[in-house]
């Protein structure tokens, strides 16, 4: 399965990634990939990724422009985003 991921604010700045296209093996993830699983998968990249995605920063996830919780299911073609709690207004 293929997904697109966006990173914002502190995550974008620290990870030095604003967006990426990610291909995941179907046998490992198809129909079972959640926001939490994706975070854990990405966190394996390095200590910085681990800290940013699984650390004390309360990362929020969105799928196709809608805020979702950690258990939300991601499917092929989804646009996923990770960002810190919002601070607009």
């Amino acid at each position: 399965m293929k997904i697109k991921i966006f990173y914002f604010a502190r995550l974008k700045e620290t990870l030095k990634f604003s967006t990426e296209d990610l291909e995941l093996p179907d046998d490992a993830f198809a129909n079972t990939l959640t926001i939490l699983k994706l975070k854990a998968h990405l966190a394996k990249r390095s200590d910085v990724w681990q800290q940013m995605l699984m650390g004390k920063l309360k990362v929020r996830g969105a799928i196709n422009h809608a805020l979702v919780d950690d258990n939300a299911l991601i499917v092929d073609g989804d646009e996923v985003a990770f960002f810190p709690p919002v601070t607009g207004g």
């Binding site: 914002f8 604010a9 969105a62 422009h65 805020l67 985003a81 960002f83 919002v86 207004g89």
Partner: protein, 150 residues
């Protein structure tokens, strides 16, 4: 409903007038303007950079305005939120709500701001004398939003 995420400044008076002139039975227009304070947490702030998530931010704002319109008997809403780099004292956000009677417009306007603060994907980075820093979300904003569910 008019929702805009933009780098350009806005004219609050013009937007209020537009809502006033749209219907002859408008009795109340409540508006909120949010500004870049030159002081935050004791530090002098010279500028603020606002990042957003193009596509999602507009949808989130529209969803918040729709919620307000379903909860209260209001006529129309104008919501403008700026992004990019703003200097101290610059305008950040305008919410203007028109209705027949004042109570509904006050509630809807404050509701929209409380939800915007906690649900709309914007992030602020301040420039102070000691450098740049991302702002942390405030628990007082979560509490302000939770009031509406009681």
């Amino acid at each position: 409903m008019a929702v805009s995420v933009q780098t350009e400044d806005f004219d609050a008076g013009l937007e209020i007038n537009r809502l006033q002139n749209a219907r002859k039975d408008t009795g109340a227009v409540v508006s909120f303007v949010g500004l870049v304070r030159d002081l935050n947490e004791g530090d002098q702030v010279s500028q603020l950079t606002l990042e957003h998530y193009p596509g999602m931010t507009e949808k989130a704002l529209e969803a918040i305005v729709n919620q307000a319109q379903s909860r209260w008997d209001i006529f129309d809403v104008t919501l403008i939120h700026r992004v990019g780099t703003l200097q101290a004292t610059a305008q950040i956000v305008l919410v203007a709500v028109s209705s027949a009677h004042r109570g509904e417009a006050f509630k809807a306007c404050e509701f929209i701001m409380d939800y915007l603060k906690t649900e709309a994907p914007f992030w602020k980075k301040e420039l102070t004398q000691s450098g740049e820093r991302w702002l942390d979300a405030k628990s007082s904003d979560d509490e302000a939003r939770e009031r509406w569910n009681q």
